[in-house]
């Protein structure tokens, strides 16, 4: 704990962004590991010595590499990490759009020929005779199971 509350707040902020090196995915602020304790103390020492936040992060990455940063830096080695997700999303979106454009609504069925109409009439009997221009048979033929 630093006596200056502003410095202590900065130390907390930095501590939350630094990854404990022995506990996979905990910040040094959350971890009770020995090393995390040492790192918290080092952060406060650097801040008390007048370091900027960036200098403290540089101090840590010089010792533990980018691994200590819970938010990885944007650089060549991390391009896939940063851009991979959005890229896959774009590709999938583009593919979907393309597929949606290709899929036109199916053309309406060809109207019944005279022959077919006559056959249909004979099959259904006189009561159900289909109106001459009615291509849609559904309403006439199928009245639903309940009624």
């Amino acid at each position: 704990m630093l006596p200056d509350p502003a410095l202590e707040a900065r130390a907390r902020e930095i501590g939350r962004a630094l990854r404990c090196v022995v506990c996979q995915n905990q910040s040094i602020d959350d971890s009770s590991a020995e090393v995390a304790h040492d790192m918290r103390r080092a952060v406060r020492e650097r801040l008390a010595a007048g370091d900027s936040d960036a200098a403290v992060f540089a101090f840590m990455t010089a010792r533990y590499g980018d691994y200590v940063l819970l938010k990885p830096p944007f650089k060549t080695g991390t391009l896939v990490l940063w851009l991979g997700g959005p890229l896959v999303l774009l590709l999938a979106g583009g593919g979907l759009l393309l597929a949606a454009r290709k899929r036109r609504p199916p053309p309406p069925p060809a109207p019944l020929s005279e022959e077919e109409r006559a056959r249909l009439d004979s099959l259904l009997g006189p009561r159900h005779s289909v109106a001459p221009h009615d291509h849609e048979m559904s309403a006439t033929v199928w009245r639903g199971p309940s009624r």
Partner: protein, 167 residues
């Protein structure tokens, strides 16, 4: 074109399977946090003369009397000292000096020098994550290898050529 699209899931499966297969077979350790120390000048040691004297390769081993894996790797360091004539510097990390000395008196002392890092500040400068960890410093004082965890027989394949060739 449309037909080829049906192969896409299969292709993705093949890519994933390839990656997983490579991960399993290449011996890649996903839990490894790597080291920022390799190929950089060795940090200071807790001695009056904090920089290692150049001239021959040196092993720097962080250990503690309370650490069980250190006990496991201890015979290997005895052997490196006796058979290879290796110069090994031991740093007792977060350990009472008397406890570390008693530990070495009981088991044998493979170290040319023993330093003490009771508050872990030296370890921090070395990018230490715990004990045991071992560094190989070449004759020019540059860190060449960094092992996290106990040294094993298998690590000798990397250590011995540098240890023998560098003097």
């Amino acid at each position: 074109m449309n037909r080829a699209l049906f192969l896409l899931p299969l292709l993705m499966l093949a890519v994933l399977a390839g990656f997983f297969g490579w991960s399993l077979l290449s011996g890649r350790d996903p839990a490894s946090i790597g080291s920022a120390m390799v190929n950089r000048p060795a940090p200071a040691l807790p001695f009056a003369e904090p920089r290692l004297k150049a001239g021959k390769p040196v092993l720097v081993n962080f250990f503690a009397s309370w650490c069980t894996p250190c006990l496991a790797e201890h015979p290997l360091f005895m052997r490196l000292k006796e058979r290879e004539g290796a110069t090994i510097v031991g740093i007792a990390w977060k350990d009472k000096p008397e406890a570390a000395r008693a530990w070495l008196a009981k088991l044998g002392d493979p170290y040319a020098r023993v330093g003490f890092d009771q508050d872990g500040k030296v370890g921090l400068d070395w990018g230490l994550s715990g004990v045991p960890e071992t560094y190989l410093i070449d004759a020019q004082g540059v860190v060449r290898l960094h092992f996290r965890g106990p040294l094993t027989e298998r690590d000798l394949a990397a250590i011995l050529p540098l240890l023998r060739g560098g003097s």
